[in-house]
């Protein structure tokens, strides 16, 4: 094969003729062979192409969560390019003269005015804008689901720690890009969010004031910030995300995908469908389905109607004021953390530092370190290509369930004002309820998960609904193995 391909580089003519002759009744070789030969003569592609087309991918549906994120990213790039053709990233004041009557004649930034133009004057612009926003929300949602699948099945274990680290970095960048994009239209809601971000940066001990002034260009609201957010949002972060995405996929390709333990599945093989044609058709089909759901939402369900929020003015505010869902856990932490500040020796660590800097800092530190922490705890140095069933790892599963509960509780707490409004409760009562919930529920869920997983593991191949209740709670003495 290799020799034949090499030979083709020199005596290509005769090689191709011989190939063509071997197909009876045809003057010319098939189209893909002519294209293939042209490329192969220049790039030596045949061996790679054959390996690639025959590559086997496991079929389990939970392995497609990452693909959903990937295809949401593709939709984000496609719609984002369209939006960037029209959006003006500038806080320069202008008087709105467009067709949206309720704001005509008002002073607003170019950014906000161009967002209105994009929504009301550019044909198909609003669908693009809304699809972009929905895609961002679904992008991060599917990353989180994918992360959970990888975590609970132990797919991050050796040899895949590098890809875990790349994945966590992409989550971080996705959050960053979500926030910068949310802030661009310069409407009242997002402007308030930017104000909060400025204050959070300001709260960092020692570096805060300088960091905030350098990033924003001066005291809030500084003119430069919008152009900088734009560069971060459409260039720097997406380029890094794209590069990491390439590395992430290349590693999956190179190391081959994990699979669940099943008859015929071993640590030394991959069982599934070949890339060509089965997997390719399914995956491309998934791309179109992702695009269908996102554009469907983009046209049918209104998102971020900035024309109703009004242009940003630092002395105005609207209520309720929440960030997009993926920052809800930080917003909840900001709402719940008590008013503790540290003041000593003439310096102070302001309250927002703890919920808005320390909490995410610890979150991502633990996320990055998890594969290595777990290896320290389990002393498991072996290579793994067969996945864990979550029930077989009660400690990890319990830790994951408890952690998810913690963030879900913080996330819910970000809506404390809406809860108070809808159920006509006292807002302080609601806040205290969530303060207790955030501390009590996670350990409770973790304990319950541990007990159920342990019982399921020890009971063998039993469904959760068929598990006898008595097997869940047992005295410690009877638990013989971990």
């Amino acid at each position: 094969m290799t020799d034949a391909a090499r030979g083709g580089a020199r005596g290509s003519r005769s090689e191709r003729e011989r190939a063509g002759v071997s197909l009876p009744g045809r003057e010319e070789p098939p189209f893909q062979d002519r294209i293939g030969a042209w490329l192969d003569e220049r790039l030596h592609l045949s061996r790679f192409a054959r390996q690639a087309l025959d590559k086997v991918f496991p079929d389990h549906w939970s392995f497609m969560f990452g693909e959903i994120a990937l295809y949401s990213f593709v939709v984000l790039v496609l719609t984002g390019v369209f939006l960037a053709f029209f959006f003006e990233p500038s806080l320069t004041p202008t008087t709105y003269e467009g067709p949206y009557e309720p704001l005509r004649g008002l002073e607003m930034s170019d950014a906000y005015a161009s967002t209105l133009r994009l929504s009301f004057e550019v044909r198909a612009g609003l669908v693009m804008r809304q699809t972009h926003h929905w895609a961002a929300l679904v992008f991060i949602g599917s990353i989180v689901v994918h992360l959970c699948r990888v975590f609970f099945t132990g797919a991050f274990r050796r040899p895949r720690e590098i890809n875990w680290v790349i994945g966590v970095t992409m989550l971080l960048l996705a959050l960053l890009n979500g926030f910068t994009g949310y802030s661009l239209p310069d409407d009242l809601l997002s402007g308030t969010g930017l104000r909060i971000m400025y204050s959070v940066i300001l709260s960092v001990p020692l570096l805060g004031p300088w960091a905030a002034f350098l990033l924003f260009g001066g005291e809030f609201p500084a003119e430069q910030i919008l152009g900088r957010l734009f560069v971060l949002h459409i260039f720097l972060v997406p380029v890094i995300l794209g590069a990491l995405l390439g590395a992430h996929l290349a590693l999956v390709w190179h190391q081959k995908h994990t699979q669940f333990p099943e008859p015929g599945h071993t640590e030394a093989n991959v069982v599934g469908s070949r890339l060509w044609p089965t997997y390719a058709l399914k995956s491309v089909g998934l791309f179109f389905l992702v695009a269908a759901v996102l554009t469907g939402l983009g046209g049918l369900v209104q998102i971020n109607p900035v024309w109703l929020y009004g242009p940003f003015d630092p002395s105005q505010v609207t209520s309720p004021a929440q960030p997009d869902w993926y920052l809800g856990w930080l917003e909840g932490a900001l709402r719940l953390f008590p008013n503790w500040e540290i003041r000593a020796f003439g310096f102070e660590i302001p309250e927002p530092f703890f919920p808005a800097v320390l909490v995410p800092g610890i979150t991502f530190a633990v996320l990055y370190a998890w594969p290595f922490l777990e290896r320290l705890m389990t002393k498991d140095q072996a290579e793994h290509h067969l996945l864990d069933r979550p029930r077989d790892r009660p400690v990890r599963t319990a830790f994951g369930a408890g952690t998810l509960t913690f963030y879900a509780s913080l996330f819910a707490a970000a809506s404390n004002d809406l809860v108070a409004h809808w159920f006509e409760l006292d807002i302080e009562t609601v806040t205290w309820f969530f303060r207790v919930l955030v501390l009590v529920l996670p350990p409770a869920v973790a304990l319950l998960t541990f007990l159920v997983c342990r019982a399921l593991r020890d009971a063998g191949d039993v469904r959760l609904t068929h598990l006898p209740l008595s097997s869940v709670w047992r005295p410690r003495a009877r638990s013989t193995h971990r």
Binding site: I68, P102, P305, V317, T318, S319, P320, I427
Partner: protein, 268 residues
């Protein structure tokens, strides 16, 4: 037994109080609205007031231990009309919280009661006659965002306050009522017997006529805004959007992934 005793005592006290009221000029006691006979058409205001209001506010609006007086510097037509038109008055029980509801009277009856209360000592503003059509909608947008959006939300969906207070949404609220609210600052928590206009949860806004009309015009727009982008999902912003993104978008895609990843003829 205790409950029965309590009821007995209450009824006895009620009868006694009624007798006293009948004999003296004290305020009439609690009488649920609608239990007495039809009122005289000419004296509608007086009779409705005597029947439904006087037992708490006194026959001359001087107030009783059940409710505040109606003779303050901000009392008068606007405040009375606001409380009746938003259904917050009359209360069936003075211990109940005054909350917005559908009005209990026809518009003509409300006007009659308002005219009667205006004969008391209150020196507050009368019922305003705003004309939103005369306002400028863009000016209204700016004023609304300056003064109203912080509590009522930029999309007029309302919100929460401290101390269990709730900011009402502005859906279906008439321009007159909004103008009255701006004049008198309603939203008294009737935990306090002395709380009156100007001391409610809402501040007062002393704006000129044009500004008021402009705000009203913008509020009328917000009651039926341009939802160019499809289903408005409550116009509460990112919370509803996040619920749809996760509950519809992500869930739909997970189900589709499950469908793709399932072999035809497999058990699952």
């Amino acid at each position: 037994m205790t409950a029965r005793t309590a009821v007995f005592v209450a009824v006895a006290l009620g009868i006694a109080a009624g007798a006293c009221t009948y004999l003296s000029d004290e305020p009439t006691p609690f009488r649920p609205p609608g239990v007495t006979s039809d009122v005289n058409a000419e004296q509608r205001g007086l009779e409705l007031y005597e029947r439904d209001c006087a037992w708490c506010h006194g026959s001359a609006g001087e107030g009783t231990s059940f409710g505040p007086d109606l003779n303050g510097p901000l009392d008068g037509g606007a405040y009375t009309h606001f409380m009746l038109a938003t259904g917050q008055m009359p209360l069936e029980d003075p211990e109940k919280r005054a909350a917005p509801a559908s009005p209990r009277y026809e518009a003509a009856d409300i006007d009659a009661i308002v005219r009667h209360v205006e004969t008391f000592g209150g020196t507050g503003p009368g019922v305003p006659t705003p004309s939103p059509a005369a306002g400028d909608i863009a000016e209204g947008a700016e004023l609304y965002l300056d003064n109203c959006a912080a509590c009522h939300s930029s999309t007029a969906v309302g919100g929460a306050l401290t101390s269990g207070e709730v900011v009402p949404d502005l859906d279906g609220v008439s321009p007159v009522v909004v103008a009255e609210a701006m004049l008198v600052g309603p939203g008294c928590p009737n935990t306090s017997r002395t709380c009156g206009p100007g001391e409610g949860a809402m501040p007062r806004f002393e704006l000129d006529e044009r500004s008021v009309n402009s705000i009203l015009r913008y509020i009328e727009y917000l009651q039926r805004p341009i939802d160019e982008g499809g289903a408005p999902i409550g116009r509460v912003g990112p919370v509803a959007e996040g619920a749809v993104a996760l509950g519809v978008g992500v869930v739909a895609l997970l189900l589709l992934a499950r469908w793709i990843g399932t072999r035809t003829g497999d058990r699952e």
